[in-house]
């Protein structure tokens, strides 16, 4: 039942803060903070009392919901979703803290939306029923739309609209694919069900499998995002309030990656393998294209947004490499990117609060004014360019290593992304903190509240870089299982050969 409580606490907290918002502005903040902290403590306490993390499913909750249509309330937790859950709660807490001063209007409603998004996200990470999954998937969207549309910057309406359209349209494609899978499975076995465990290994023709998979891919690739479906992202990120950008970059994008690992690979074992060359190509294109566009940006938030496109390219490259090393890298990238990009968005928010601009050309030489901020910015720029000792390095290294096994050419191309990352990351530091001071801005360095946020993020990114085992060992059983299921069900290997296949043959 713990999984149900996790979601219930967030939903309860959401409604409470909305109502409490009428009483005072501080109350919703405290309520949200309490709800998220409670969730975090709950999940950590639960994990600590487990004997082993090696079981495939650490906890499984399966209750009937609408039995007539084979819809169940099926939640389950494995190592992968555990990591994502902890990440969600932690960043949720951070996003409350950073919004403490930034959000001044309709505070209650803001926190209602925030908690609702988070509830949707953890629902996505836990659902093992496709209908339920879709429900949570949609639950994330509307509050996010409000978050950008109400509390965002100047061009927020257009941005929120674009975000909504892209994700909604692709979500609907996924819904159609879910229905198709439901019917295909029902027709071949007589059991009409949305249950993930039962749908695994559904027998279907290759074309059917491919088409249904493309439906799922549409949703996940837009979320990730993959070039050329990325255009919602820079707008949404740059116009959202800081907490919104943080959640978008750090968590929402990860639902796409999670979906690929959890659903696309095991449910469509043959089709996903035959899609692999295209998938890897999309990954490489994303890495280079995102980086290339990141160079050109003068808006700090937009720049960071494009770096996300680039970093997520590594995720899709890893997912379609189909080996354990790459998958470990993907999980690591999901977490490390969440922390490092989240931190950069927070930095952008802090700068905006002080200078009221996001324009890099108006900044410069701020190190002198705010050395602590500069040091934090430097650390996360270094994380973003893949400096050893910080989490992102492990992630990108493992992905490249894994991808190298799958496809030498793609892997080498992708590694060019590391140089690109160096260039745009150094540009961030240089434009903001180094060089001659061009303005006479006087402002305070980080406050205690901000220092706590930044310090906790720094500690985590360093921890990830130095002790990656904590994360990798947690996720390992889940990843191995995913690959096993994929290999087991992929019985027709001859179909998986493709013209684009440049795999290394020794």
């Amino acid at each position: 039942m713990i999984l149900f409580y996790l979601i219930a606490i967030l939903l309860g907290g959401a409604f409470l803060s909305w109502m409490a918002g009428r009483l005072s502005a501080a109350l919703p903040r405290i309520i949200s903070l309490v709800a998220l902290t409670a969730d975090l403590i709950l999940i950590v306490a639960f994990v600590l009392q487990l004997d082993t993390l090696n079981n495939k499913w650490l906890v499984d909750l399966n209750a009937d919901w609408i039995p007539k249509f084979g819809i169940s309330f099926h939640l389950a937790l494995d190592g992968l979703s555990l990591l994502m859950l902890i990440l969600t709660f932690f960043l949720g807490i951070i996003s409350i803290i950073i919004s403490w001063k930034e959000i001044k209007v309709r505070v209650g409603f803001f926190h209602f939306n925030l908690l609702l998004i988070l509830a949707g996200i953890i629902g996505v990470f836990l659902s093992l029923d496709l209908f339920l999954f879709y429900f949570f998937w949609e639950l994330m969207l509307v509050p996010m739309y409000f978050l950008i549309g109400i509390w965002g910057h100047e061009k927020r309406i257009a941005a929120s609209f674009k975000f909504f359209l892209y994700t909604q349209a692709s979500g609907l494609l996924m819904f159609i694919a879910i229905l198709a899978l439901y019917f295909v499975h029902g027709r071949s076995t007589g059991v009409y069900t949305f249950d993930y465990m039962q749908l695994l290994g559904t027998q279907m023709g290759y074309t059917t499998e491919l088409l249904i998979m493309l439906g799922f891919l549409a949703a996940f690739l837009v979320k990730l995002p993959v070039v050329p479906l990325h255009n919602w992202l820079p707008d949404a990120h740059s116009e959202a309030p800081t907490a919104g950008s943080l959640i978008l970059a750090a968590l929402l994008l990860k639902t796409g990656a999670y979906g690929l690992l959890r659903f696309v690979v095991p449910l469509f074992p043959s089709a996903s393998v035959s899609f692999a060359p295209i998938g890897m190509l999309l990954g490489v294109v994303g890495i280079l294209y995102g980086a290339k566009l990141a160079f050109a940006q003068t808006d700090l938030k937009r720049l960071v947004a494009y770096t996300s496109v680039s970093h997520m390219g590594f995720v899709i490259l890893g997912v379609f490499s189909f080996n354990e090393i790459a998958y470990q890298g993907v999980v690591m990238q999901m977490i490390a990117h969440a922390i490092s990009t989240g931190a950069l968005f927070i930095l952008a928010g802090q700068l905006y609060e002080r200078t009221h601009t996001r324009d890099l050309n108006k900044m410069g030489g701020l190190w002198e004014t705010a050395p602590v901020m500069g040091a934090v910015g430097l650390i996360f720029a270094m994380a973003s360019l893949g400096l050893p000792g910080l989490g992102n390095f492990i992630a990108e290294l493992l992905i490249l290593l894994g991808a190298f096994k799958a496809n030498v050419f793609m892997s080498c191309l992708a590694s060019v992304g590391l140089i690109a990352a160096t260039i745009y990351s150094l540009r961030i530091v240089q434009k903001i903190f180094l060089g001659k001071k061009i303005t006479d801005w006087k402002f305070n360095d980080l406050t205690i509240r901000e220092k706590i946020v930044s310090a906790s993020l720094v500690i985590i990114i360093v921890w990830l870089g130095i002790f990656p085992r904590t994360v990798l060992n947690t996720a390992k059983p889940a990843l191995q299982k995913t690959l096993e299921v994929q290999k087991e069900n992929n019985n027709d290997n001859n179909k998986t050969e493709s013209i684009l296949d440049l795999r290394f043959k020794n």
Partner: protein, 639 residues
């Protein structure tokens, strides 16, 4: 076997100092210099103990210096067989490097207490110095190629931070960025090389990689690509990383600019330690190069040879004293690469390897001395330009003498350290590749010329009008100078062939007079020309440079390599890649999406003539589309 556990502290002390000074440095103020220096002093003493214990007590087992793992732990278990370790590997070259790094770093620490004392970010400077020392030490003691890569990158970052130390100076900022990006570009080759290498040999571990009877070397004759084996390709890629860090042609462009950093940094990083990392990398994998990829080693040799000539020519034309030294560094590293390139594996055939390591050792001492001396000069006259100097011997007696010693050493004057090491490289080259030998002999003359050009211009020649009288530096700065001068004189008497050899077996090396004499003569000749041209103020240099104006101009502008790179990156890449990509994103990607929405808009408008907001139109289109698609699927699947 002895307990070498304490070697861990050599690495950890600088790390601790970095954390302490980085986080709390502002509280210590001036004390931070003393703290950092003390920490490094301890590390230095520990390194000397390690060297003693390794070379004289425990290391030599049955006439061979065995590699020893002082510490090892699995850091990242990727699959059952593949893992990345973190550990400490002690073997002759790593122990030698420990001594070199801690010695120079310790001297630079002491020196910086004086040189940097009025700077604002005093604690920050020492924090970064400690970070650099930590990374560099981690690099040389790496037990496996991945550990090396990790510290390799950290070294790059510390170099970036230190070059950009004067962060308000735009030239320093752009130099630091350039250094980082160029070396990282090279590291890309290194990474691909590692991936290829480990893919073929299934191991990252240095001990098993370089085991001449091991599987790694055996798979040298694997699949081939463009006429070279995969092994050769991977080693050439690895060398690309080394060439980047060691500023070999054509990846050298960052080094002269890196002189924007504080001078002690140039001494430590861009002369004595970091820039020799590339040499160390090749030396580390030497058995693999020599046995399974001799073509790779040839590349190393030719690149080194060309770089050393190229840099020496440019050095003769520069006026900024630090830049002269930077090109000199590049040239000397070229020597070391040549030494490796002309060497074979085992016994006396491995003379080049030994000589290269020997030269690395002596070069660290005299080049650090030269840079620190240059720092003392700059400290005294507040300029880098040698045109604004002259006659300084009267004002800076200690700096003058120590600088002279260093110049004589680098010129290869007999009985000073570089005479021995350079001579051995030339001997090895003579026996293996005559072309390289003659080029290097010529470079030896050039070296003597440009160093004494610098020496005479600065310490003799006509005295310009100084704003205030130059004065000798404080003791904190002169003590390191004197110590390094002593090292430069006597380091040559260490019998390197007894300790550091390609197969870890000692051998006797003999000096060949037929090679030693010409090289000394060439060196003296270079000094003589410099003496004639620069001892007194004459118009001779100007007349010569006008006489060779075309060539002189090319050399003075560093053969326009910066411009070439700028042209390629700015003009070609920007114009032919960036712009089309940006255009594509704006017009095609966004345009298509806008087009779709426009069409949708239009269609829905046509259908119902909606007057209200867009959202409803879209919602309508989506819902109808959804229903339509659902119907199609229902029809297709549920009959």
């Amino acid at each position: 076997m002895s307990n070498f556990n304490y070697t861990l502290f050599i690495v950890l002390i600088p790390l601790a100092m970095f954390l302490l000074l980085g986080l709390q440095g502002h509280k210590f103020k001036k004390l931070s210099g003393i703290l950092g220096t003390t920490g490094l002093g301890i590390a230095w003493i520990l390194s000397l103990i390690t060297a003693y214990q390794y070379f004289f007590v425990y290391g030599n087992v049955g006439g061979v210096f065995k590699p020893m793992l002082a510490y090892n732990s699995v850091w990242l278990q990727m699959t059952e067989t593949l893992h990345i370790d973190m550990g400490i590997l002690l073997d002759p070259i790593s122990v030698m490097m420990l001594v070199v790094i801690t010695t120079v770093s310790f001297m630079v620490h002491i020196y910086s207490n004086g040189y940097m004392k009025d700077e604002q970010g005093f604690a920050r400077f020492f924090a970064f110095l400690s970070l650099f020392t930590f990374s560099m030490l981690g690099l040389v003691i790496a037990t496996n190629i991945f550990q090396m890569y990790i510290f390799w990158e950290l070294v790059g970052v510390s170099s970036y931070l230190l070059i950009g130390y004067y962060y308000q100076k735009p030239s320093a900022v752009s130099a630091s960025k350039k250094a980082f990006i160029v070396t990282r570009f090279a590291d890309l080759g290194f990474l691909i090389g590692i991936l290829l290498l480990s893919f073929n040999t299934k191991t990252f571990d240095f001990i098993s990689l370089t085991d001449i009877h091991g599987p790694a070397i055996a798979c040298g004759a694997g699949a081939s690509f463009l006429g070279l084996s995969v092994m050769t390709w991977s080693l050439i890629f690895v060398f690309m990383g080394g060439a980047g860090k060691s500023a070999m042609f054509p990846l050298h462009i960052w080094l002269p600019d890196a002189m924007e950093g504080p001078t002690p940094v140039s001494a430590l990083i861009h002369a004595a330690t970091m820039v020799v990392a590339g040499v160390y990398l090749v030396a580390r994998l030497f058995p693999v190069y020599a046995i399974s990829a001799p073509q790779g080693l040839e590349v190393v040799g030719y690149v080194g040879c060309f770089s050393s000539l190229f840099a020496a020519v440019i050095a003769c034309t520069q006026y900024d004293i630090k830049r002269v030294l930077a090109y000199s560094t590049m040239s000397q590293i070229g020597y070391m690469m040549v030494g490796l390139g002309v060497s074979h594996y085992g016994g006396e055939e491995g003379l080049g390897f030994m000589a290269s390591m020997f030269h690395l050792f002596t070069h660290a001492m005299f080049k650090a001395l030269l840079f620190l001396g240059a720092g003392a000069i700059i400290h005294a006259v507040h300029t880098n330009e040698m045109t604004e100097m002259g006659g300084l011997r009267k004002y800076l007696p200690i700096t003058h003498i120590t600088f002279l010693i260093a110049c004589l050493t680098i010129a290869g004057i007999p009985l000073l350290s570089a005479f021995f090491s350079k001579d051995e490289i030339l001997t090895a080259a003579f026996h293996n590749n005559k072309l390289i030998f003659f080029v290097q002999l010529f470079v030896a003359g050039l070296t003597a010329f440009y160093m004494f050009r610098l020496y005479f211009r600065v310490f003799w020649n006509k005295e310009p009008h100084y704003h205030h009288t130059p004065h000798e530096s404080p003791l904190t700065m002169t003590i390191p100078l004197m110590f390094l001068a002593v090292c430069s004189i006597f380091a040559g008497y260490i019998p390197f062939s007894q300790f550091v050899t390609s197969d870890s077996k000692p051998f006797e090396s003999v000096m060949e007079m037929g090679i030693a004499i010409p090289s000394v003569v060439v060196g003296l000749f270079g000094i003589l020309i410099a003496f004639v041209m620069y001892k007194k103020e004459t118009t001779l240099p100007d007349r010569i440079s006008t006489g060779f104006s075309f060539f002189y101009k090319w050399a003075f502008h560093k053969f326009y390599f910066d411009e070439l790179y700028l042209f390629v990156t700015k003009k070609i890449i920007f114009r032919f890649i960036s712009r089309p990509v940006a255009w594509f994103d704006r017009h095609i990607v966004d345009g298509t999406m806008n087009g779709i929405s426009a069409v949708t808009n239009y269609v829905s408008f046509q259908i119902r003539g909606f007057q209200s907001g867009q959202l409803q139109q879209y919602a309508y289109v989506f819902v109808s589309g959804l229903v339509g698609l659902a119907l199609v699927i229902l029809y297709a699947f549920v009959k």
